[in-house]
Amino acid sequence: MIALIISVPLLAVLWSVTEDSEGVWGHLAETVLSGYIRNTVILAIGVGISTPVIGVSTAWLVTNYDFPGARIFRWALLLPLAIPTYLTAYALTDLFEFSGPIQTWLRDLMEWDANDYWFPDMRSLSGAVSILSLGLYPYVFIAARTGFSSQSASMLEASHLLGAGPWRRFFSVALPMARPSIFAGLALVLMETIAEFGAVDYCAVDTFSTGIYRTWTGRGSLVAASQLSACLLGVVSLLYLVEFISRRSARFHHTSQRSQSIQPTAILGRQRWLASFVCCIPIVLGFLLPVSRFVCLTIEAGDARAGELFLELATNSLTLAGIAAASTITLGLFLAYMRRESKSVAISSAVQVAGFGYAIPGGVIAIGILGPLWWVEDRILTFTEASTDWDLGLFLSGSIVAVLLGYQVRFLAIPLNVISAGFARIRPSIEDAAANLGATRIQRLFRVHIPLLTGSLFAAALVVFVDVLKELPATLILRPFDFETLAVRVYQLASDERLSEASTGALAIIAAGLVPVILLNRLSTASQAGTNHD
């Protein structure tokens, strides 16, 4: 039942394909659609090539070798994950544009004139590819590192003894074995790339995601926006399938091996500095530069209205994030427990569907929610107007209910997966024992499972909380009129080229984003320590 409600937006989007958009779709197809397709495909290919290059090479270096700073790089390479890609875009574009500090400095240094030199333009498709690659490569990095760490050292030692040099060991043994994990990470990257709104919007690249938003806000056509969403949904489903399949085979690989994991060996000579340099680049470009730019901007100018507005915005953001985290956790716990307690195929497949939300771009979810929500609201209003004299107004679509529903659909998968993993660690005999000792099903949940799941529940709540703080497209479309959050405010200021004012909010979002990254790092090192002790 709940899973069904969650899937309503998806069905609404798919249903729209059969509807008539009063010529808007035809107009779109003639004018901008081919551009959307071209840009989205080039973006996906560009990011799809560069993120594995950055993510896999750095993961291999820090897993297999020791070199100056390797210990720091092992966690620092995750840092760009703390910055939402739209903030990376704002900062890097600002730094590298014509009037930005870097070009100005170059001109002053070389005494160049505007026409004397060429400099890459960040506000372009290639700029968007670079920004997304820098922001998203950690997904591949994590996946590849997991893949490499779970490989048995003896396998690599065997290939060493059989005469394979370091390059051949990497390309013919380590890489093929880690391929399922890497594919899973890459699929995540591509899903995020296709769903990306803020960064590509700022780089003035028109993709499906920005198109959906424009069609809705500019032309006001929900049907045409839904139809665009349906196209996007098709591509995302395909990627989700790839991710699902590779994750399954990754699991297979993982369980089949129980032996000594790889111990890093020291790189000697000058090469070790090269390794450090390679690992430095993505951290500097993807984290240090954007953060320091925002810090500079805040110190120089900052948001003049920060004092009065900041409190209100932060309260809005925190309220939304708090409610969303609490409700998704409750729902996720409930669904995961249902799946554990009943062996019914219907429930487990329904839960699977509910978990699909994370793969769907926020904009698509928002568009998919509006139609059904209006329909329900309309029915209720007709009923109340006919039978009572209440004036409810737009009590659903005009309130935070809409945006909370959107978050529910988008983020339910996080608690669902985290809590299911937590449940998997609880031995079935524990709940058999509880039943044998007289605890009913509800008592078992509260007296045994919830205390044992505290860590998982907390981790999942934290991740949802921060994701909601960062979320942009769904919030933009679904928020009540005049309701602003930190992310929305930063987006609007940046759109108006008032980046120095946006920097304060941006730093707040990044600070919040660091928390789950630290947590993630803790979790992954803890699990690696766990496997070593086995």
């Binding site: 031995r427 005999s429 524990i430 058999d432 024992a433 509880a434 039943a435 044998n436 000792l437 007289g438 605890a439 009913t440 007296r447 045994v448 205390p451 044992l452």
Partner: protein, 339 residues
């Protein structure tokens, strides 16, 4: 309180898909009796326990505790309402609760001082007075096992199910822990079903044993009688090495190549099973009938594999009885006990 009449299991059959895990099993355990379910893994013992505990829904047959039908004929009393305690193979202690809180978990009014006093008493009865506030992971296997037992006893169940609870313990520790546990259960007058695959455990602790194989109970009897008079080859093999000796019956006499015995009014067995220690081995002298093939020195005894004509037999003797391997020997059956 209803008078305790133990547990009756009547004609239970249980399938997982097309696989029949339990076939037409009937069992009766009186209050205070220790009843052992003995069989190899996969013989259906654990499934039977789970059905009795209500953790697995009964498909066919009935389970009655203290005269009350709890499973079968459309009745399924939920696991949490049954007067059936269980100690799991992995103890299944709640890892987030201390020893005493584990014991209190299933007690009615678990916050009352009375319950607390009872839980403390139970833990100190089994020698864990010093550990009542310990977390499970800080306890040894034997201590965890005793906490699990105390936890199950705290609900004063009429029936106790023990699912190989001693198999995880060191051999030196095992018999001590087991004897203490079973003593507690006997004195509490609980009908106990102990699942094991260890014949030594069955012989040393059970009042009666049911031998299970492929989901069926082959034989139910006292350990000694099953040992001496196994119903069939499986039952015989469950208790260790056994010889099958060919015989014929003439004039109410059971005649083998190694001795003869009067049957009197007894009906002759289908197969004659003789344990290695029920055969006497002596130096052949004038009339040898076998020769020794190999010798294995065991802890307390010596096991000989001897050959007589075409048949191979195992004979167990005390190590003090030295028999040269190269000499022909004579084997005779000891007086075969009456069944």
């Amino acid at each position: 309180m209803t008078k305790s009449t133990g547990i009756q299991v009547d004609r239970i059959t249980h399938r997982f898909g097309s696989f029949e895990a339990v076939s037409d099993v009937s069992l009766e355990v009186a209050p205070g009796e220790i009843h052992c379910l003995l069989g190899a893994s996969g013989s259906g013992k654990s499934t039977l326990l789970r059905i009795i505990a209500g953790l697995e829904r009964l498909q066919q047959g009935t389970v009655t505790v203290n005269g009350e039908l709890i499973s079968g004929n459309g009745t399924h009393q939920p696991a949490e309402q049954r007067s059936v305690g269980m100690v799991f193979q992995d103890y299944a202690l709640f890892p987030h609760l201390t020893a005493i809180k584990n014991v209190l978990f299933g007690m009615p009014n678990r916050r009352s001082a009375e319950s607390r006093a009872k839980a403390e008493q139970l833990l100190s009865d089994i020698g864990l007075a010093a550990n009542i506030h310990s977390m499970p992971h800080t306890l040894s296997g034997g201590e965890q096992q005793r906490v699990a037992l105390a936890r199950a006893l705290a609900r004063t169940p009429s029936v106790m199910l023990l699912d190989e609870p001693f198999s995880g313990l060191d051999v030196q520790l095992r018999s001590g822990v087991r004897n203490a546990a079973l003593k507690v259960l006997r004195s509490a007058n609980v009908a106990t079903i102990l699942v094991t695959h260890d014949p030594v455990e069955a012989v040393s602790s059970a009042d009666r044993v049911s031998v299970m194989s492929n989901g069926r109970i082959i034989q139910t009897d006292t350990p000694d009688r099953i040992y001496r008079h196994p119903a069939d080859e499986t039952s015989a093999n469950t208790f260790g090495l056994v010889n099958q000796i060919p015989f014929e019956v003439r004039d109410r006499e059971l005649i083998t190549r190694f001795g003869t015995r009067s049957l009197e009014n007894e009906s002759p067995p289908e197969t004659l099973f003789v344990r290695p220690e029920d055969i006497e081995l002596s130096i052949g002298g004038d009339d040898p009938n076998a020769h020794i093939e190999s010798v294995t020195h065991e802890a307390m005894t010596t096991l000989y594999r001897v050959k007589s004509n075409d048949s191979e037999l195992y004979v167990r003797t005390l190590p003090s009885q030295k028999i040269p391997v190269e000499k022909p020997v004579r084997i005779t059956l000891r007086t075969i006990e009456r069944g």
